[in-house]
Amino acid sequence: MCNFLRLNNPLTRYLRLGDYLLILMSIIGILWLFNNLWSNEQAAKVQIRQGETIVGTYGLNQTREIQVKGPIGTNTISISNGRARFSKSPCRNQYCIHQGWLNRAGQAAICLPNQISLELIGGTKPYDSLTY
């Protein structure tokens, strides 16, 4: 029975010791990636960029509309209840609007035609105190 399993199961037949180790390390690496890149941290600020320049960084604990000018017109960005979104855009595809409200640290939305981007920043970004 054991012999039968060994011969017919492709996993035991084709995998060698190093293969098992590599798979194990890959799984650990992927779990590490999930843990680090999928933060559930509530965002505290939103950073708005136009092209190469940072237009501004705004706290999310306010209700506010921000107008940002780009090469094809003006985008409106709304902030309310700890969230931020693109609410008006002169671009044709409106992808940035469809991204909807963002509220977690690390989330981002971009309007490529107008070169404007939003990036949500958590309260614990290491250079926070240096910059602001």
Partner: protein
Amino acid sequence: MNARHIQTTIEDHQVAKLAAFAIALHMIEAVIPSPLPGVKPGIANIITLFVLYQYGFATAAWVSILRVFASNLLLGQFLSPTFALSLGGASLSLGILWLAMRLPKHYFGPVSLSILAAFGHIAGQLIIVRLWLIPHAGISYLIPIFATAALFFGLINGLITARLITSK
């Protein structure tokens, strides 16, 4: 007519035949819908890996690069961003295979090479996306998903390659 005759060797024919197989697999894969752009089984890599084991690295590199050029020409994506992603992925994947083939064969079989090549593919594509298409941290969210897909499909392609090699 004064046509110039190009001398071809047996190796050239072999490369062409193997590349044709890889192109066919790439075409089949192109019609399979994917839940997320970039998450693909990468079955053409089975050919690259098989050729690496049977004919060596140089032939595998030829087959892989020819596959990228020909498939993208056939799909009408030549010189488009998709082509750049394809080429970037294949190049980094080949670079990693070039290093990984030096691992002790007794412990590391085709499955290891396949998984490493799959990670290379995804890493090459992500680097191009980051540098050229979306110079922004926004895509980091997708990295764990791409890595999971790479591990899964790398394992399956590796098992298929192992089977092909041993059945020969």
